[in-house]
């Protein structure tokens, strides 16, 4: 019988297999950041252990870093200590680090791919659940806890139980104006926040094959919001073209050998998945969340659902609690929801393509009165690229704030937070209670919907702008 993509990558990394034990998997790349690593380094010290493979380990600073005044000392003393701890740990153990201010600094899941360190067929781990992002290249990439970070530092392996596999096939083409973010939000709403639990998701089908690498990363990134530790997409010419020439991509003969191997990385025709979901792309439209978990979403054209409409008691209770927290009424059109803040950025939608899409919509328009729009590039490099294309000017002329790279308002560990009761349209990945700041209310959206929402002041799609448009024609 044939094997799935996930099974192929898994099998290629088994260091040891024994009856009654989890497989011991080799890890090709270990990404570190300041939040989930300090206790792991402490553990190494306590046991007199070293980092086994410094050449497969890389660190950056992202969760705590400010996005303003990055040349000044970090104001929050606790954040400063955490960053200083990472710097000391990396210096003590010899780990390559891209600190704040470095041109390669940024959100860890943006940094790996742009350096060409994330490649097809690899196992990639990081103490961060959005490590699933890297599966967009056709590898197995998953988030781990701090005990596992220590385990990988010490052994470059992880004992793991073999996951089940789920195919998510997206037939047809995404309609005009429908993005990868809309697709993944619709998938999560369909299978639920626990639907992928225990599975590796493989996204496939015509609509997925047509997506850029940035869009594929957006999709794989949010696999965890469906409960799946990992999501992946078979590598193809789009993947190879993205990688070729990047700093850590293979060169010369290595490139040819790598591509030959990468081309074998797809699910065999007779491979069997443990579960299958089929989505018709043509039925999709811009999608937003109304609740407090990423599965509580609906098409932008819909209304806030009535909790009474849920048959399942725990879902009904969850919807009631969500509406109360979000300050929404059942039956209210989603388009009528006004926001105070728009956040464009994060490991979900902080790549150059996302910034281009948002800039294209705000260009020649103004952010609505009373709305603040924050644009945070996913990495320092993405920021530089955006500046070279003039996107920063477009955002600033529209009245948005252009910031330095980091996780920023995705989780509000730095000063970029919502105040209690404030409402955001956010291109990030989690609308949990208080995620973006205590009492803050989050609607997850695509960069395009975020930009249109910033201009109109309420949840909106770019198509809504066309109607009452006052955009200054280009060149005037």
């Amino acid at each position: 019988m044939g094997r799935t993509l996930a099974e192929k990558v898994w099998d290629d990394h088994v260091v040891r297999r024994a009856e009654g034990e989890p497989d011991l998997l080799f890890i090709d790349l270990h990404l570190l950041h300041e939040v989930t690593s300090p206790q792991a380094f402490d553990g190494l010290r306590k046991n007199g252990r070293q980092v086994r493979r410094l050449d497969l380990t890389i660190a950056t600073e992202d969760h705590n870093t400010p996005t303003l005044d990055i040349d000044k000392p970090i104001a929050d003393p606790v954040s400063r200590v955490q960053l200083e701890t990472l710097r000391k740990n990396c210096a003590d153990f010899g780990v390559r680090l891209h600190p704040l201010g470095d041109v390669e600094q940024g959100v860890v899941h943006v940094v790996g791919p742009q350096l060409g360190l994330t490649q097809p067929g690899m196992t990639v781990v990081c103490g961060d659940s959005h490590t699933s992002t890297h599966g967009a290249f056709g590898g197995l990439a998953f988030g781990i806890g701090t005990s596992q970070v220590e385990h990988v530092l010490a052994t470059q392996t992880l004992p793991m139980a073999r996951p089940k596999t789920m195919a998510i096939t997206v037939n047809g083409e995404l309609p005009e104006g429908v993005t990868a973010k809309d697709l993944i939000l619709a998938i999560i709403a369909r299978i639920g926040t626990g639907g992928g639990q225990g599975y590796v998701l493989e996204y496939r089908g015509e609509a997925v094959e047509k997506l850029s690498m940035e869009a594929r990363m957006t999709i794989c990134n949010m696999s965890i919001e469906a409960g799946a530790r990992a999501g992946m997409i078979a590598p193809d010419e789009t993947t190879f073209a993205y990688l070729e020439g990047r700093p850590h991509a293979p060169k010369g003969e290595d490139w040819d050998a790598a591509v030959a191997y990468w081309k074998t990385l797809k699910s065999d025709d007779d491979a069997e998945f443990d579960a299958e979901v089929v989505i018709e792309a043509s039925e999709l439209s811009p999608f937003v969340t109304w609740g407090t978990n990423p599965g509580q979403g609906a098409p932008l054209s819909a209304s806030v659902p009535d909790p009474a409409s849920y048959e399942d008691a725990s879902e009904r209770l969850a919807a009631e609690k969500a509406l109360e927290y979000m300050g929404l009424e059942a039956g209210q059109p989603l388009r009528s929801i006004k926001v105070d803040t728009v956040f464009v950025g994060s490991c979900t939608n902080g790549r150059i393509e996302d910034l281009r899409a948002a800039a294209d919509i705000v260009k020649g328009r103004k952010v609505a009165d009373g709305v603040r729009m924050l644009v945070v590039p996913g990495s320092a490099r993405v920021g530089l690229q955006a500046v070279s294309e003039g996107l920063d000017v477009v955002f600033k002329e529209a009245g948005a704030e252009w910031r330095h790279a980091g996780c920023s308002m995705c989780l509000g560990m730095n000063p970029d937070q919502l105040a209690p009761g404030e409402r955001s349209a956010s291109t990030s990945n989690r609308n949990f209670e208080g995620r973006q700041g205590k009492g803050g209310r989050t609607h997850l959206v695509s960069p395009q919907v975020a930009a249109a929402t910033a201009v109109l002041g309420h949840l909106a799609s770019p198509a809504d702008l066309a109607a009452a448009d006052d955009r200054t024609p280009a060149g005037v």
């Binding site: 200590v81 005990s147 560990m413 989690r430």
Partner: protein, 197 residues
């Protein structure tokens, strides 16, 4: 890791589904660089409400959390496990846990027990009606016992063995160091390295 064999204690019934790790321990607590001192951050937002179940005087000293489905979703933060342990919880019961949280809990000796929702419902009813009711989580016998409840649970033999003996994963893996070295020797040369030699 502290060994887990059997534990008996009073319970906190938490009737909520999809309790994500941002609720268990909010992000601003993650700036700490130690594994302890997280108890005051546990369910921080909800604890501002005096009626929140954890704040009820009759729940003081409870050690078994009986949670709704999909407990521990979201962020991989192991701090969520440390916060529960720092507060005094020894075991968490739910009909479904998020994968990463489950893995983190078992690596720290916090026993996460999966039971059918009907049994979770029964435990909720029992412990809500009688806050002094005790629940026994017996890893040796692999069963949960309480008044009117005698429910077997599954846990893979390897995890159970490690928990019963309080074994450290890294030491176990390093016993197979030769296998790792053999694997490393045959890795293809095109695989990327973060350091240039």
């Amino acid at each position: 890791m502290e060994a887990f064999t059997t534990h008996t204690g009073r319970a906190v019934p938490l009737r909520r589904s999809n309790v994500d790790t941002d609720q268990i321990i909010p992000a601003h607590w993650l700036k700490k660089v130690t594994r302890d001192g997280f108890e005051d951050g546990l369910f921080e937002a909800w604890r501002k409400d005096p009626e929140f179940v954890l704040n009820r005087p009759e729940r003081e000293g409870a050690t078994v959390l009986v949670a709704g489905p999909d407990f521990g979703t979201g962020s991989s933060r192991e701090h969520a496990v440390w916060a529960l342990q720092n507060y005094g919880f020894k075991a968490v019961i739910s009909s479904r846990f998020a994968d990463i949280f489950r893995g983190n809990s078992l690596k720290n000796g916090l026993l996460t027990v999966v039971l059918d929702q009907k049994i979770v419902d029964a435990l909720w009813e029992l412990t809500e009606a009688d806050p002094t009711a005790e629940i026994t989580v017996d890893l040796e016998a692999r069963e949960v016992r309480a008044e009117g409840v005698n429910a077997p649970f599954e846990l893979d033999e390897n995890s159970r063995w490690r928990l019963l003996n309080g074994l450290d994963d890294i030491s176990i893996t390093l016993q197979n160091e030769a296998d790792i070295a053999t694997y490393e020797a045959k890795r293809p040369s095109f695989k990327p390295r973060t350091l240039t030699a």
